[in-house]
């Protein structure tokens, strides 16, 4: 079993902000720790807010040129502060947290990354990691319409990109489960997005007998495995913390009805 990288708590400065409608991509500069795995997340402090008390868990979207990328969706007072952040603003971050996606060793592994909404965030760093390891993943992203496809250029750099849009304004109309990307054979699937999307992908994989990893987003307080608030029920170990045993789980471990 891999040994976890040492957790650090440090201030990071916003080096660049890319607004994307209700989302924003923050590029943060600071003293990045070693050994960040795709699928891991950070706990970021929201210092100036009347209505938020706890940190916010944000998945690691990418690590590039010594910068930490965080893709944030404006989903409340806390994340709103992040989306509003200005260049130079400083945030206190605890990282790296949790267990990430399995990165296959074999260069010939056929892997599909499926994501939607803010769920595409951890898949970018996974795609990059696979790409750097000599694997060219298939990537299928779902969005409402063409304008809502996030990080398109970045994903194209690291794999074969397939798009599904609800309104058909880009790629294949409909859900990502209907995307022709699925016509191929895969040795592994990684999915992150809205729960219905993850369930749909998981059941396809169950049907085809493909190992499938999902990244969960349960409500979290500490992010360190201490408060036991973010638990998910598992077949072998019962309630486990998503923040430490996850956020990435092999679907076979979970008690999801597919």
């Amino acid at each position: 079993m891999e040994v976890d990288a040492k957790k650090v708590m440090r201030d990071f400065a916003v080096a660049d902000v890319r607004p994307m409608g209700t989302y924003a991509l923050l590029e943060m500069e600071g003293d990045l720790p070693e050994g960040i795995m795709p699928g891991q997340f950070v706990q970021i402090e929201i210092a100036d807010s009347k209505t938020t008390y706890l940190r916010r868990p944000i998945s690691i979207c990418n690590v590039e040129n010594g910068r930490l990328w965080l893709l944030v969706r404006d989903a409340g007072a806390g994340t709103h502060k992040l989306v509003e952040a200005r260049k130079g603003d400083r945030f206190n971050i605890i990282m790296p947290l949790g267990h990430g996606f399995t990165v296959p060793a074999g260069k010939d592994t056929r892997i599909l990354l499926a994501g939607g909404g803010v769920g595409v965030a951890p898949l970018l760093y996974l795609a990059k990691t696979l790409h750097d390891g000599g694997i060219c993943p298939d990537i299928v992203l779902g969005a409402r319409s063409k304008a809502d496809v996030l990080l398109r250029e970045e994903f194209e750099r690291y794999g074969r990109l397939h798009i599904s849009t609800d309104d058909g304004s880009d790629g294949t109309p409909g859900l990502i489960t209907a995307n022709p990307a699925w016509d191929k054979e895969f040795d592994a699937v990684a999915v992150c997005g809205p729960t219905p999307m993850m369930r749909a992908v998981a059941s396809i994989c169950a049907g085809r007998g493909i190992p499938c990893e999902v990244s969960l987003e349960n409500m979290m307080a500490c992010g360190l495995g201490a408060c036991l608030c973010c638990v998910e029920d598992t077949k072998d170990k019962g309630n486990v913390c998503v923040c430490t045993d996850g956020p990435v789980f092999n679907i076979n471990k979970l008690k999801w009805q597919l």
């Binding site: 008390y53 979290m220 201490a226 019962g238």
Partner: protein
């Protein structure tokens, strides 16, 4: 150099700073981020006789300056603690290790204490008669003087070392409860456990917690906690351990001035894992700046 040493009914602490049960795991979870041995001690997760899966998710809701939780005493049971966890943390940490003990029946409490008694590094237990998140979580015991006295009497007979009773704030008179457990031989009382609260997801028209109600903690409850510590410290002769929303040195000093001999840092550790260590350092600095020979000089000056 001022002394931060305090004594809790026989238990010597290098400083008054403890971590609250259920908020600091077994210390290991925080060890990358803060120096556990800089603390007076850690109070580990509520431990029951049998393993418990706890309540279903969602177990947490953020509230103004605080949070609600409904974990429901999830833990692997006292035997697992003794066999697997205790050896690890006893070897790794030099600060005091206190076990928070929870139960549904008097026998649960006493049996857990009997099994913990042989462990040399466990010099104190904190008896949780105030968990609001489990039907049989002891809050029934903690909300009447008779119930609190009954548990104390039984545990006192089963536990020879320092006995701390953790009290519920969800009562008309916490002073009466404190007097009742003192009369039965408790060495100390710790307060406050969480206030029973509730939050509703208006959009989904359902409770935020699977259990509907849960325990409120964080800075929001601090004024209630300071008040209760002040009332109890005036009314009993045993040392009072104060907790409830303590986030920094100033908060800790409020509790000490209100009469607390030691304090516990809880929810604040979720936001700042170093909060407890920073408070231990902050208390030392405060004593220096104010020419105190001992932190005890300001205890209960209100």
């Amino acid at each position: 150099m001022a002394t931060l040493n305090v004594n809790i009914g026989g238990l010597e602490l290098a400083n008054p700073v403890l971590t609250a049960s259920g908020t600091f795991g077994y210390g290991e979870e925080f060890a990358d981020l803060t120096d556990i041995n800089a603390l007076g001690g850690i109070i580990v997760k509520g431990t029951t006789l049998a393993p418990r899966q706890g309540n279903p998710a969602p177990r947490m809701a953020e509230t103004p300056s605080g949070m609600l939780n409904a974990v429901g005493l999830q833990n692997k049971g006292v035997d697992y603690f003794i066999e697997h966890i205790y050896p690890r943390i006893a070897e790794r940490f030099s600060s005091e290790i206190i076990v928070n003990v929870a139960g549904s029946t008097i026998d649960d409490y006493t049996e857990v204490c009997r099994r913990l008694a042989p462990l040399p590094r466990i010099r104190a237990v904190e008896i949780n008669i105030s968990c609001p998140n489990v039907k049989q979580g002891g809050m029934a015991f903690g909300t009447t003087t008779d119930g609190a006295a009954e548990v104390t009497r039984a545990v006192r007979a089963a536990w020879p070392k320092t006995l701390i009773m953790k009290l519920s704030p969800n009562v008309t008179s916490i002073v009466d409860i404190a007097k009742a457990v003192e009369a039965e031989g408790a060495d100390s009382v710790s307060l406050i456990n969480t206030l029973m609260g509730m939050a509703i997801d208006v959009k989904r028209r359902r409770p935020m917690l699977s259990t509907i109600t849960g325990g409120l903690s964080g800075p929001a409850v601090k004024p209630v906690a300071v008040r209760m510590v002040w009332q109890v410290a005036k009314a009993v002769g045993i040392p009072v351990i104060g907790l409830g929303g303590i986030s920094d040195t100033n908060d800790a000093l409020e509790f000490i001035m209100a009469g607390a001999t030691a304090i516990e840092v809880g929810t604040a550790g979720f936001v700042n894992p170093r909060a407890a260590e920073e408070i231990a350092l902050g208390l030392a600095a405060y004593c220096e700046e104010n020419g105190l020979k001992s932190i005890s000089e300001i205890r209960g000056i209100i």
